[in-house]
């Protein structure tokens, strides 16, 4: 959608061209990504003035490492949201993939790259299963993934007897604890790489465009020859893989695959999963995506959490703040959208 402003201004008198350029600038200034950047800078300044420890090497490193996982969780939900659906089982799938990876490393003594592939394959399989059931039943993804969230987690707990795998290959855990240039976690680079790949997918590949088209208008997409069912299954498969990546990142960071790492039924991942994409401007009704927005949104959320914890303003109230943030984000987005529509900027 971006760039239409310039195209329209061709052959229009200079005066209007100037106002067109101003509109384009205004549009950038009102975009989610710009807003998020401003907020990130603003809060970084606030936190570092109140508590100088915020800018310490370790604090920055920890922030990058934690946000890497949250960004991945956000991506995992984002790829399903673009089809107009949801995936409540991201946490469940993430934990299942992590536990499977842990099992392969501990019980089968597999080298870690193979075990990681195994974990990701588990994530892909569970995601594909979600997609398959949704497409075949024709029911909304909400109720299907609500059920599978319970099933995946229940089976995982049953098979593992709720015990952790702590015998994780040292090479793998050292990856999660490595520091590049003193402050950058390689995990953040993994998330950035995933972001780049997803951007390429949605911007330059037919598959990505078909995913967006399916989300924008499923019927129209179907009529124009897109195999909608297959596309939806792919989106869920991709979501499963990304959830698996997030789960394995946690394993590499903590050095153990723990069944409770995403809370009861993986519910603890739900809020970060939605916060990132919603803050970043991904439409919940589908059809529009912002990978950079999700990246920045998840980063902002992690930064706020870290900063507030550092300032010791009631760790127990954290969930309340995050909930209000989500509420504020959707309300501001609504106001912004109606403003843009009134000024005919969208």
């Amino acid at each position: 959608m971006s760039g239409t402003g310039q195209e329209q201004s061709v052959g229009i008198p200079p005066a209007e061209q100037a106002s067109g350029a101003r509109l384009a600038t205004l549009r950038i200034l009102l975009s989610n990504e710009f807003g998020l950047l401003v907020l990130i800078v603003l809060f970084a300044i606030i936190f570092s003035t109140i508590s100088p420890a915020f800018l310490s090497k370790f604090s920055l490193y920890a922030l990058g490492r934690t946000s890497a996982v949250n960004i991945m969780i956000g991506f995992s939900m984002m790829v399903v949201i673009i089809t107009g659906g949801l995936n409540l089982s991201v946490g469940s799938i993430g934990v299942c993939a992590a536990m499977f990876g842990g099992l392969l490393m501990q019980a089968f003594a597999m080298p870690w790259p193979l075990a990681v592939c195994g974990g990701l394959a588990m994530g892909a399989a569970l995601g594909a299963l979600n997609g398959f059931i949704i497409v075949r039943s024709g029911l909304h993804s909400f109720i299907i993934t609500l059920a599978t969230m319970s099933i995946f987690f229940g089976v995982m707990i049953f098979l593992t007897r709720a015990e952790s795998y702590r015998d994780i290959s040292p090479a793998f855990t050292s990856f999660g604890r490595m520091k590049l240039v003193g402050i950058i976690s390689p995990l953040l680079l993994v998330s950035a790489l995933a972001g780049v790949l997803l951007s390429v997918l949605f911007r330059y590949t037919a598959l990505g465009r078909e995913m967006l088209a399916t989300g924008a208008n499923e019927r129209a997409a179907e009529l124009s020859g897109i195999r909608v069912n297959r596309i939806i299954t792919y989106c869920h498969l991709l979501s499963g893989v990304l959830a698996g990546v997030a789960g394995l990142m946690l394993v590499s960071r903590t050095g153990a695959a723990i069944p409770s790492m995403a809370g009861q039924l993986g519910q603890d991942w739900l809020l970060p999963a939605f916060l990132g994409p919603v803050l970043g401007g991904t439409l919940l009704t589908g059809g529009r995506v912002s990978v950079l927005g999700t990246f920045l949104g998840s980063f902002l959320v992690t930064m706020l959490t870290t900063g507030l914890l550092l300032m010791q303003v009631g760790a127990f109230w954290m969930q309340t703040y995050l909930g209000m943030l989500l509420l504020a984000a959707v309300l501001i987005d609504m106001v912004r959208r109606s403003y843009l529509t009134r000024r005919k900027l969208i």
Binding site: L86, I133, S137, G138, L139, H140, F142, I143, I144, L146, A147, T148, M149, S150, I151, F153, G154, V155, I157, F158, A162, Q264, L265, Q267, L270, L271, F274, V278, L284, G314, F316, W317, M318, Q319, T320, Y321, L322, G323, M324, L326, L327, V330, L331, M334
Partner: protein, 322 residues
């Protein structure tokens, strides 16, 4: 319009219950012992409130992820007011119920006025309410619960009928009356069936949405208060595991998630099915971890059956028309 009894929402679940009870009691006679029935009824009483709380929102075609958070917040408010402020229990219960209504109204107002999907609003309010709960309790339970409340939460008034079954039956009757006999109930179903048509026919959709969320909050709060009596302490974790159950029971009872069609009797039977299956896992020493799997499978099975019935009904009406 009159449907044959085997086409009603409650017939399928009722058959499942009859067969399950017959099979289980044949294999293990202690299943029908008065004590076991009392345990079953206690579970059903609380879970039915949770299920009704979600059912009324399903009726308007929305979802409420915050039922557990509202229930938990009301539960710790109830226990906390009694322990910290020494408020007598009936007043504390009323105040906690009012808190539940308030939390529900907040959900309803936000959904109705902004037009943002109930999923996102209640996901946000879920963490706000849960955060307030944790902020107040710092994850520590309230222990000083009056003996009367403990008694009401566990004892029977007529063996093997527990006290807790009374509010449950009352809620079921009132909800049935509301949805089937009162104009407000018809409006709720109309909004769920087709919001636009309801608006055009003069129903204030906003008002209906807010009222439905208020009722949902009230029911969730009652479930929380009842659990305080049953567990004999104000646990901050009350409500954490309600979400799956709250959808499972109405869906087993034939509720259609896009709205406009719910069944009070079906939902009650759905709760009973879940309670019986859970009990069976315990009675036969099968792993209790499998409860989650059973719940998930029940949901999938129920939505599949509902879908099948819906499609068949459509075909049937098409045949009649042609």
């Amino acid at each position: 319009m009159s449907r044959r009894f085997w086409e009603t929402d409650w017939f399928g679940p009722l058959m499942v219950i009859v067969v399950a009870v017959a099979v289980v009691s044949a294999l293990n006679p202690s299943f029908l012992s008065p004590f076991n029935i009392q345990v079953l009824l206690l579970a059903i009483a609380v879970n039915a409130m949770i299920a009704f709380s979600q059912m009324i929102i399903i009726a308007i075609g929305q979802m409420n992820l915050s039922v557990g958070a509202i229930g938990g917040l009301s539960a710790i408010a109830f226990a906390g007011m009694m322990e910290v402020w020494g408020i007598p229990w009936p007043i504390a219960a009323i105040l906690a119920l009012a808190l539940g209504v308030l939390a529900g109204v907040a959900n309803g107002v936000l959904v109705a006025l902004t037009g943002i999907s109930a999923f996102v609003i209640t996901l946000a309010s879920l963490s706000v309410y849960k955060g307030v709960n944790l902020g107040i309790t710092e994850a520590q339970p309230f222990y000083k619960i009056p003996d009367v409340v403990k008694g009401l939460g566990n004892d029977t008034f007529l063996h093997p009928l527990p006290w807790l079954i009374i509010p449950c039956v009352l809620a079921a009757l009132l909800l049935w009356y509301l949805l089937n006999r009162l104009p407000l109930g018809r409006s709720i179903l109309a909004v769920g069936g087709n919001e636009h048509a309801a608006e055009l026919s003069g129903i204030s959709v906003r008002r209906v949405v807010i009222v439905a969320h208020a009722i949902s909050g009230l029911l969730a709060a009652s479930a929380g208060i009842m659990l305080v009596g049953r567990l004999q302490l104000g646990q901050p974790t009350i409500g954490d595991d309600w979400l799956i159950l709250s959808f499972a029971a109405p869906v087993i009872g034939g509720a259609i998630l896009s709205g406009g069609h719910v069944s009070v009797a079906g939902t009650l039977l759905g709760v009973a099915i879940v309670a019986i299956f859970t009990q069976v896992l315990v009675l036969f020493n099968i792993d209790p971890f499998l409860v989650q799997v059973v719940l998930g499978v029940l949901i999938l099975w129920a939505v599949g059956v509902n879908r099948f019935r819906e499609v068949r009904a459509l075909k049937h009406s098409a045949q009649v028309a042609s």
